[in-house]
Amino acid sequence: MALTTTVPQLISQQFDSEVVLANYQNGVYYNLDGSAAQIWLGLKANRTVEEIAHALADATGDDPASIAQAVQAFTDSMLAEGLIAEGTADARLETWAPVLSGAFVTPEFQRFDNLRELLLMDPVHDAGEEGWPLREPHDG
C-alpha cells in the first residue's frame, strides 16, 4: 500500500530543514526536524521506506540495517498519528536526497497539543466546506 503525505485537514509547511504539521481536526501541531523531517520529505517525494533508509544510510554512513528499522518504526508512528496516510502516493520528484549532516539520530516528532483547548473554545473552527443544508420549507 502506497503512503501519502496528503492528509485531509493536515497542513504542512517546510522551513529549511524543518517541517511543521498542523492537524486542523484536533488542533495538534507537530515539529519534525533532522532525520524525522527528511523521512517525511522523502515520503512526500514519493520514495519508499526502503529508498529513504538507503538514502539516509548513504548520507550518514551509518548502519543501513538499523537505519531501515528506525525509518520503518517512525513511518509506522506517523501513520498511527495521522501525519501520513495510506492511499495514492504523492507525485514523484525526479531528484530527492536527504539533507542531513552528522550521524543518524533516531527520528521523532515533537507534539504540541496546547492548542486543543483553544480549538474547542472557538466558535467556528468546525466549519467545513461540506455545504449549507437548507431547511425544508414547512406548510403553515
Binding site: 486542523y24 504540541f112 472557538d122 466558535p123 468546525d126 467545513g128 455545504g131 449549507w132 443544508p133 420549507p137
Partner: protein, 342 residues
C-alpha cells in the same frame, strides 16, 4: 399543491448560494439605513450601514472611520427585527457552517449568541445578521472579520492573529496565543507614542510585509487598567464572557497614530520570569506556529491558503522570543532597541 407550498418547494430547490445572494440583495433593496459610516479596514475601504443606533453604537467604535478612496465592501448590520433571514439558518443550526460557492461566502456562527455573516463577492455586498440583536464581545471588537478574510482570498493580504505596533525603526508583529502579552506590549507602545495597528488581528501583506490596521479596538484585562488608565475613556465598556472580563476599548482617539508600516521583526511574547524585557532568537517555524492556529481557527475557509500566507509572513523578517518582563512601560524602549539593532 398550494401556491405557498409550490413557492416553498421552488425555494428548497435553489442552491444555498442562490438564496443567500437573493437575501443579500433584498437587504440592500428593502429599506433606508438610518446610520451610515465609512471606514478603512486593512487595505479595503468599507461603506457601513447600521439598521439602528444601537447597532452602530455596538460596532462602530471598533472601526477606523475615514473616507476611503474606493469602496471595496458595502456592509450592512441588521437584526432579526429588521430582516427575517431565518430561512438562511442551516439545518442542524447548532453547528457552525461555512459556505463558499458561486461567489458567495457565508458563515453561520451559532455559539452562545448566533451570528450570520455573508458576502456576495461579485456585488461586493455583505451582511452581518444578528438574530437576537446581540453579538459576543469578540465579534464586537473585530466585526465581520470573516468577510474581510473572504475579500483577501486570492490576494497577498492575510488577516493575521497578532498585534502590531511601529516606530521609526519599523513595525513589529506580536504573535502568540491569548494571555501571552500581546495586548500589554501593544498598548504600552501605543502609550509611548508608537503607531498602533491592532492588538488582536492585523492585515499583513505576505509579499511585501506591509502591515495595516483592521480595527482600532483593544480588549484589556482588568489587571492592566491602572497601567493604561489614559486609554480608558467613555467607550470602555466591560464585557464579561465565560468569566473573562475585558475592558472593550476604542483607540480611535489616537487618530493618525492608528496606522501601519513595514514589518521589521516578529516578536513572540512569552512570560518566562524575566524582570526586564529579554529577546532570544527564534525560528521561522516558531513564528508560523505562533501565528497560524488562532489565525486559521478564527477565519473559516481556505486553510491551505492561510497557511501559505502565514508561512511567507513568518519568513519576511527576523523572529525573536520576547520575554516582556514585569514592567509594561519598559517594553517600548526594549522593543525600539531591538528593532534598531536589526
Amino acid at each position: 399543491m398550494t401556491p405557498a407550498r409550490k413557492a416553498g418547494r421552488c425555494a428548497s430547490l435553489m442552491t444555498a448560494s442562490h438564496r443567500i445572494r437573493q437575501e443579500i440583495a433584498a437587504v440592500f433593496a428593502s429599506s433606508e439605513v438610518p446610520i451610515e459610516a465609512q471606514a478603512r479596514c486593512g487595505p479595503f475601504g468599507l461603506r457601513l450601514g447600521f439598521a439602528s443606533r444601537e447597532l452602530a453604537d455596538t460596532f462602530l467604535p471598533a472601526y477606523i472611520q475615514s473616507t476611503p478612496e474606493t469602496v471595496d465592501l458595502d456592509l450592512r448590520f441588521i437584526t432579526g427585527d429588521h430582516h427575517d433571514l431565518s430561512g438562511l439558518v442551516p439545518e442542524a443550526a447548532e453547528k457552525p457552517r461555512l459556505l463558499i460557492e458561486d461567489g458567495i461566502y457565508s458563515v453561520w456562527q451559532p455559539a452562545v449568541i448566533p451570528v450570520l455573516f455573508a458576502i456576495d463577492l461579485t456585488a461586493k455586498r455583505g451582511i452581518a445578521w444578528l438574530p437576537t440583536g446581540e453579538a459576543p464581545p469578540w465579534i464586537r471588537s473585530r466585526p465581520a472579520i470573516s468577510l474581510i478574510h473572504a475579500l483577501m482570498h486570492e490576494t497577498p493580504w492575510c488577516a493575521v492573529h497578532g498585534a502590531a505596533v511601529g516606530s521609526g525603526a519599523g513595525f513589529t508583529l506580536l504573535a502568540g496565543e491569548g494571555h501571552s502579552g500581546k495586548t500589554t506590549a501593544a498598548l504600552a507602545c501605543a502609550k509611548a507614542g508608537w503607531r498602533y495597528a491592532g492588538d488582536d488581528f492585523v492585515a499583513v501583506n505576505s509579499q511585501n510585509g506591509r502591515i495595516e490596521p483592521l480595527f482600532c479596538s483593544a480588549r484589556l484585562r482588568p489587571a492592566l487598567v491602572e497601567t493604561f488608565r489614559n486609554f480608558i475613556g467613555k467607550t470602555s465598556a466591560v464585557s464579561d464572557f465565560n468569566g473573562e472580563p475585558r475592558h472593550e476599548l476604542s483607540l480611535a482617539d489616537l487618530g493618525d497614530r492608528i496606522g501601519g508600516g513595514r514589518l521589521r521583526a516578529t516578536f513572540i511574547p512569552r512570560r518566562r520570569g524575566a524582570v526586564a524585557p529579554v529577546f532570544t532568537p527564534a525560528r521561522q517555524s516558531d513564528a508560523f506556529r505562533a501565528l497560524l492556529p488562532t489565525t486559521a481557527y478564527e477565519l473559516p475557509g481556505w486553510p491551505n491558503e492561510i497557511a501559505d500566507k502565514v508561512a511567507r509572513i513568518a519568513g519576511l523578517a527576523p523572529v525573536f522570543f520576547a520575554d516582556t518582563g514585569t514592567q509594561p512601560m519598559e517594553i517600548p524602549a526594549a522593543f525600539a532597541h531591538q528593532l534598531d539593532r536589526l
